[in-house]
């Protein structure tokens, strides 16, 4: 195996670990988030509509907090996808809300890490129903790379998960 092939293989293994990790983040699971894709070019998360996440009981519109969590997690995963080093920590996130999510409909998020420096990843993300050009919200974020515990902590956290999830039927779509 060439050095390049070995590097690509390591990258791929880490990415798979990242997918497993993201899918098992307790808060992502509690929100019902589905990881649709984690690729270097971008990451797609899906937040299924759920009555427990409603902010305005009169309209059934999802609470902004759920969208914030979706965009935060998706943006973090985009940094990981661009450079698989865990864990990462959000430094700052700005979200512009353009329109309310429609009641009863899933919300998708697409995030990309457009710049990495030695310590910081810069992200852009958008939340939408079916067209990224008709956003519900858009976000920009900065993330600190490889924080406390380093890769070892994540490897430990995901070691048990990989075995546990292998026995469950896959409910998330395979990354494209």
């Amino acid at each position: 195996m060439t050095d390049d092939a070995a590097r690509a293989e390591r990258h791929n293994q880490k990415r798979q670990l990242g997918i497993t990790f993201a899918a098992n983040v307790p808060h992502n699971k509690a929100l019902g988030i589905v990881i649709e894709a984690i690729e270097a070019e971008g990451v797609v998360f899906r937040l299924p509509y759920d009555a427990k996440l409603v902010g305005n009981p009169e309209t059934g519109v999802l609470h902004g907090g759920a969208i914030t969590a979706l965009l935060d997690g998706c943006s973090g995963a985009a940094v990981f996808a661009a450079l698989p080093r865990w864990p990462i920590a959000t430094l700052d996130l700005r979200i512009d809300y353009m329109s309310a999510a429609e009641p009863g409909r899933d919300v998708l998020a697409f995030a990309t890490c457009y710049k990495l420096t030695r310590n910081i990843g810069f992200t852009r993300a958008v939340a939408y129903h079916d067209d990224r050009n008709q956003p519900i919200a858009s976000a920009v974020g900065t993330f600190m790379l490889a924080t406390k515990g380093g890769d070892a902590a994540v490897t430990r956290a995901t070691a048990g998960l990989a075995a546990a999830t292998a026995t469950e039927p896959p409910d998330a779509k395979e990354p494209t």
Partner: protein, 154 residues
């Protein structure tokens, strides 16, 4: 979906009524998402504190463990909205305050503990309110996150 005035107006009427009865703190229980997040309101000497009681479903990084950043964002945003409803006049609002822009800075890793937030209104105009909020856990002097929230209130 229409943006017409009646949307949210009966919610606002209920909030105004709870406020006049001195039961403003009870309105969090009417919001499903607030219940899901374990968010409650406390008023002490006219100071509103929004509390997110810890639950394992709020964890973002099990290795540390640390709360998911999104939960802190949600707490700060919620604190800002409740502050506007508490200080402002819900009966005069066309709808519930709507977030236009939300900016959060994460200052420290937040552990598996209860988290508290307080918000301050910098300016409240006819249509827009500028609010800042801060969240902490066991030490008010060591905030875990802070936020600026721009809300549409007209």
């Amino acid at each position: 979906m229409s943006d017409a005035a009646p949307i949210g107006s009966s919610v606002l009427a209920r909030i105004a009524s709870a406020k006049s009865r001195g039961e403003f703190g009870s309105i969090a229980s009417a919001v499903p998402y607030a219940q899901f997040m374990g968010i409650t309101l406390h008023i002490d000497a006219d100071q509103l504190t929004t509390t997110m009681g810890f639950g394992p479903h709020q964890i973002g990084n099990p290795a540390l463990p640390a709360l998911h950043g999104g939960t802190l964002g949600a707490l700060l945003e919620t604190a800002a909205v409740f502050e506007v409803l508490y200080r402002g006049d819900p009966a005069a609002m066309r709808g519930l305050p709507k977030t236009i822009t939300f900016t959060v800075e994460y200052l420290r890793s937040a552990g598996p503990l209860d988290t508290f937030a307080q918000a301050t209104i910098t300016r409240i105009g006819r249509r827009v309110a500028n609010v800042s909020a801060v969240a902490w856990q066991n030490d008010r002097a060591k905030p875990v996150a802070s936020a600026n929230v721009l809300l549409m209130v007209g």
